[in-house]
Amino acid sequence: MTEENKHCYIKEGKLALPYQYFAGRIGSKFLVSLRDKKKILGVKCEKCGKVFIPPRKTCERCFEDISEKWVELSNEGEVTNFTVVRTDDKHHPRKAPYVLAMIKLGGADTPIAHILDGVDPDSVKIGMKVKAVFADKAVNTMLQIDRFEPVK
């Protein structure tokens, strides 16, 4: 340790701020459908044919307005990729270990990241068939789908 380093300290601090987020008309329709009807909605770009989830106003590739092109997706899909979270952090949605999977729902072209539960992390496989399990109470975020579980 040098003479100067003797005077170096680490001070604990925080960065705390209130904020809110507005889902907008399109995002709200998606979330309300998850919550009230347990139906998963996507939007389809008629130019390139891609079905996006979560829904968005614009197709990022064609730059077309697709906000009214709603399609209902299946509550079931398959794992296209996954990772096992093995560290705990207060910001994580679950205690480790848990599986974060990319899941492509039936009818969709883009996968969504979500929690895959009800399966031993070591036996998750790409291509595994999974289904959405909805939250019982209003969450009003993507966790309105509480988790995915393997189709038995």
Partner: protein, 386 residues
């Protein structure tokens, strides 16, 4: 009583006790005064105390915690959401005297006044759909007239003529009705919407049936249930609210580290630029003007002279907790003794000194007993009065 947007000032105050939310008024003890000018205006005192509320019209508004003055139209408009409150306040149409924070708090203490819902269903509307609701399969062989004598505001007289499996509606009452329903318009609408039980209505005399009771009993089968027109629902827009809190670790580096060591020993240390002689407090590793390392530490103060006092009335969140700071409080910029001419030191002023302290006054630090090397090692600066 003058009405604005269909609501009078009295309506707002008369419903205030009913709109009171105990959970929004926890710990609030205050008297809210309202001076409403113009047609339909007046003076009211709203006393919130120990989880209860008392609303009284008065001539004497003395002893208030906060007073709101506005013209009747603005007051009603803001209360029912037709006029933007901030806009009205900023442009001077609403004036507030006293504890401003209570105005914001009152939004939590009372639910918003809502216009009594006008029924979209009218008696005329019900009869307009009567023929369409006719169920011929349940009226086979009937050759009768049914009379309706709907009294009061919005009422009228109608006769439904049932013959050969068909239904025709006439206005007015035929003499030869098999049965005549007599009922007030409001009760009739409630009966049709299922809000008023027919047996209760008959028992209490609000619904009178004259003629063949058997026919009367068949009526619910002869006509299908009336479906009120659906109101256009506003789309629910989702908002999530969060208070993010991330744990951080900050490195002091050796220069700020030495400064904190000084605070623990009740010393304020500045550093000096070896080139231009400028002193900085809190010290910074380099002199930003000469861009050279400035490591020499020199004790300054701890007393000094105020160069700027800022009295803060606006409450902002404390970055350590996200909780709102209490106001008013004052920040002071102090030229500490021995620092030179340009480098002021930033801290808080003792609240008790807030009223009579000004630029040029002498102050000294009040040290915390628990000094750990932080901005809070000095609680605040206080005026030197001796």
């Amino acid at each position: 009583m003058a009405k604005y947007f269909d609501v009078s000032v009295e309506d707002i105050f008369n419903t205030m006790e009913a709109r009171f939310r105990v959970e929004g008024a926890k710990g609030v003890n205050a008297v809210l005064a309202y001076d409403i000018s113009g047609d339909g205006g007046g003076k009211w005192l709203v006393e919130v105390r120990d989880d209860s509320v008392k609303v009284a019209k008065t001539d004497d508004l003395s002893g208030f915690s906060v007073k709101t003055s506005a013209d009747a139209e603005t007051f009603v408009g803001v209360n029912i959401g037709k006029i933007d409150g901030t806009q009205a306040f900023m442009s001077g149409k609403i004036k507030i005297e006293g504890d401003m924070a209570l105005v914001a708090a009152s939004a939590k203490m009372f639910t918003r006044y809502s216009l009594p819902k006008k029924s979209a269903v009218t008696v005329q509307g019900i009869f307009d759909t009567l023929v369409a609701r006719f169920q011929p399969q349940n009226a086979a062989g009937l050759d009768i007239s049914v009379g309706y004598d709907i009294t009061g505001d919005g009422g009228g007289q109608w006769t439904a003529v049932l013959k050969d499996g068909k239904c025709a509606l006439e206005t007015g009452l035929r003499d030869n009705c098999a049965v005549v329903n007599s009922v007030k318009a409001k009760d009739y609408i409630d009966l049709i919407l299922g809000k008023l039980d027919p047996m209760v209505a008959m028992g209490s005399g609000r619904l009178k049936l004259k003629g063949d009771m058997n026919v009367a009993m068949q009526l619910p089968k002869i006509f299908a249930k009336f479906e009120p027109p659906k109101e256009e629902e506003e789309q629910e827009l989702i908002v999530i609210k969060r208070n993010i809190s991330v744990d951080m670790k900050y490195s002091t580096g050796p220069v700020m580290g030495k400064f904190f060591e000084g605070l623990i020993e009740k010393k304020i240390l500045a550093n000096k630029c070896p080139k231009c002689g400028r002193m900085q407090v809190p010290p910074r590793e380099v002199c930003a003007e000469c861009r050279c390392w400035a490591g020499d530490m020199i004790e300054v103060g701890p007393s000094g002279t105020i160069t700027l006092i800022e009295i803060i009335y606006y409450s902002s969140p404390d970055p350590l907790t996200g909780e709102t700071r209490e106001t008013p409080y004052a920040q002071v910029h102090i030229l500490l003794d021995g620092i030179g001419k340009e480098e002021t030191f930033w801290h808080l002023l003792k609240n008790e000194d807030l009223a009579d302290t000004k630029k040029g006054d002498r102050v000294r630090p009040v040290w915390s007993d628990n000094r750990v090397g932080s901005v809070h090692d000095i609680i605040h600066f206080e005026r030197i009065r001796d």
